[in-house]
Amino acid sequence: MAKVPPEKELVSYSLKPDTTAEWMDTPTEFREGMFCHAAKPKDLETVDFPFPHKWSPSDEDWGLPENWKEIILDGMKDRLDKYRSFRLFMDVCVRCGACADKCHFFMGTGDPKNMPVLRAELLRSIYRRYFTTSGKLFGKLVGARDLTEDVLKEWWYYFFQCTECRRCSAFCPYGIDQAEITIMGRELINLLGLNTEWISGPVANCYMKGNHVGLEPQTIVSNIEFLMEDLEDITGKHIEPSFNRKGAEILFVVPSGDYYADPGIYTFMGYLLLFDHLGLDYTLSTYASEGGNFGFFTTNEMAKRLNSKIYAEAKRLGVKWILGGECGHMWRVMNQYMDTWNGPADFLEVPKSPITGTVFENAASTKMIHITEFTADLIYHNKLKFDKSRNDHLVVTYHDSCNTARAMGLLEEPRYILKAICNNFYEMPEETIREKTLCCGSGSGLNAGEDMELRMRGGFPRAEAVREVRDKYGVNTLTNICAIDRASFPALMDYWVPGVRVAGVHELVANALILDENDDRQLDMRMEELPSAVAKREAEAARAAEEAAKAAEAQSDGEPKEGDAE
């Protein structure tokens, strides 16, 4: 993992960048810590991607095929016809600059090429040169430039410094979405075999094994069984999760991080505890064991190939509908792409909560709902009992992940749940939440180790907002509904706001959920003592001490007594 410079050094940039030279004349400097490793040929081969070859971003020679320019320009032409968004966004920007300071990467680096409008111009200048008359005639005068290897490298560097978070799009008067342009840019780069290891590795894994982390079926099962043992230690309940079961009512799909790594696993335990409590007829699948989709960070086609497993598995198992776990880009895909790619899901039924009878008409076509929709509905109908005080050791704030906020609008459901399950909930500043939420800085496949400085910088604006509520309200818990958040925030918090833990919403749900009248749990999902347990233990200790003191008084001759030491 690359070493990140100390905080002082990292914040020494200015948001009023040096702009003496024109941006086109400013060469791109590949700075260590700001980019990811190159894709491995074998990963590209697994999914039949073009031009698998060995190369490194810091090399002079990227091993491009002879006709690389032609490939890129043909690729552009093709996509200009296929995506109106792409063509339009190439044409209509007025360079008003409203988006300029909305990108967390600009806010955290001060690098002017991280202003969304300039990130777009990197590609737009090539579009002008080869696809517009004025660009062909007047060249640089109208902002056009030739496609060279340096331009390609610049694309690579800056399209992997965009998390496709769409914050810029919310502020643009025409809705110009740099995420769309980055997606196109990455598709083009991909035509030359120039992806990153951190993206293409998970893609290959997911294609062959069903999930990004590359767990084989037996490992998924044993991992989850292991989590269930912990859950039994905590709650006294023995839970038998169900896998690949035909005839279940619901297929439950989560991002693989949730059954793989801390702190996602606590959220996963939360899901399954809730389902067990409800007696839900669900099954997990080892084949469709990934809700997330790193394919989305390579090409539209690859994303579709990975996503296809979900409907295919739902059909094979004969379930009625699909429930999805807490994940950000997964929900961008489920909400805006899945049905179009791999639907219609006419073999499924409109999701209906077996507990409340609520029919989820908003998912009438995809047949897939978000777990916070499911749980919020339960709470609204008084189907769950909570002991909020079990979360009293947590002072909570909530981070809207970019995709659920700006590509879905799932804003209130998680908040509704949080307010029902904990006593201390505080919002971060208005300009940093909901549709204006700031990215974790690690989305869209940037959450690798070697680009840690980039991640710390990109995540700085979010961390800074967390710091504000930590200092003001003592916030110590950053909740979210995104697997990449859960994977990346711990490092970000350690760096900028030490002492703040990261948790999924359903981890806190499980903490507070009262299973039955005998449920007098002492531990939270992380096996830490609950506040009530701590209070009880302290009270007992105090009483014991008091009694001991009394006893000592009675025995005024003062014989030392065993067990008095504490």
């Binding site: 209509v92 409008v117 004025s134 902002g143 025409y174 489920m334 049905d339 179009t340 908003n362 604006p461």
Partner: protein, 335 residues
């Protein structure tokens, strides 16, 4: 260069129109041929560009959602910022086009050491509104030159625009505001470093051109006092295809007209196409209902996938070892 160049071009355009009419008396060219050609190029250009956009597919429904989605009756949906119906989208578009709603959202981030602060930033929004609305009103006011009799709507508009009752001829507020608006937009391109950095010559050119048009118009009205009746005769002649000679008109009118013609020719091939473009923007003009109503991609094609059958073949033994059920149907069909 990116500032001086466009300024010189606009000044040259003024000079050309001035010389060719004042000294060379090419009235037919500047009063007849060029306006017709420019208008034709404007219309053709618009159509070409719009058809090109329209022919690009919209494979996915990708609105940028800027508010709460529609889910439960008991959670209030942001119907305009996250529309789920055609009516909502219509409302969102109306607000975008008429009030620049997204621009209204604008804020400014400031950094002090290791702190970031967000402050309100409404100036761009105000400047943009000033300029665009004045321009719309001015264009509408010009309709009196090509319509006879002048419909009441335009007469009322004209009276409203002159309601300050200052000066003779009456001062139009829109004339002042358009210059203020354009001046502000130009000034911020210089003054804000970031904006200057991203600006191209083609960002300065339309501002100079529009300023040229506005100023020459204002000079005609408050300075040289052109013969409006004469202008109307010529303009009516043009739009009814019964042109009358334009020899009588003053030179400044030709300058104004020539700049407008330049704008018409330039418009379809420039960033000014943001005006029709905003209506086509897939992040704004689509409803966020893709889970409820299936969106069809016209070029969707079958892709190679890794099927469950292949998966089971590869991992069947391992699955058996942990008691995962194997699918007999799959095994049999896979031979």
């Amino acid at each position: 260069m990116k500032v001086v160049g466009p300024l010189i071009v606009v000044l040259a355009l003024v000079g050309i129109a001035w010389c060719c009419t004042e000294y060379l008396h090419w009235y037919a060219l500047f009063g007849l041929v060029i306006p017709y050609v420019a208008f034709a190029l404007f219309i053709i250009g618009l159509i070409v560009r719009i058809v090109r956009w329209a022919r690009s597919a919209v494979p996915f429904r990708i609105p940028t959602t800027c508010g709460q989605q529609k889910s439960f009756s008991w959670i209030k949906q942001a119907k305009l910022d996250n529309p789920s119906s055609k009516a909502g989208v219509f409302g969102r578009m109306v607000l975008e086009v008429l009030t620049f709603r997204s621009l209204f959202r604008n804020n400014k981030v400031e950094k002090r050491d290791s702190k970031l602060g967000y402050t309100s930033a409404k100036w761009l929004f105000i400047g943009a509104l000033l300029f665009h609305w004045s321009m719309l009103i001015i264009i509408l006011r010009h309709m009196r030159l090509v319509l006879d009799p002048v419909p009441q709507f335009f007469q009322i508009l004209e009276q409203a625009d002159g309601f300050l009752q200052i000066g003779l001829p009456l001062l139009y507020i829109s004339d002042v505001l358009i210059v203020v608006g354009l001046g502000f937009l130009l000034a911020r391109r210089f003054a804000i470093k970031k904006v200057r950095y991203i600006s191209l010559s083609v960002d300065f050119f339309p501002l100079f051109l529009l300023l040229g048009i506005a100023i020459s118009g204002i000079i005609m009205r408050y300075g040289f006092r052109v013969d409006v009746a004469g202008v109307k005769e010529v303009m009516l002649g043009l739009v009814t295809f019964h042109p009358v000679p334009a020899d009588q008109l003053s030179t400044i009118l030709f300058v104004h007209l020539f700049l407008v013609c330049t704008l018409m020719v330039y418009f379809p091939w420039s960033k000014l196409m943001h005006a029709p473009g905003v209506f086509f923007s897939p992040t704004r003009n689509l409803a966020n209902n893709s889970r409820a109503v299936r969106h069809v991609n016209p070029w969707n094609y079958p892709v190679k996938v890794h099927t469950y059958a292949e998966y089971q073949e590869e991992y069947g033994e391992k699955m058996k070892s942990v008691g995962l059920p194997l699918d007999p149907e799959v095994v049999s069909t896979n031979g």
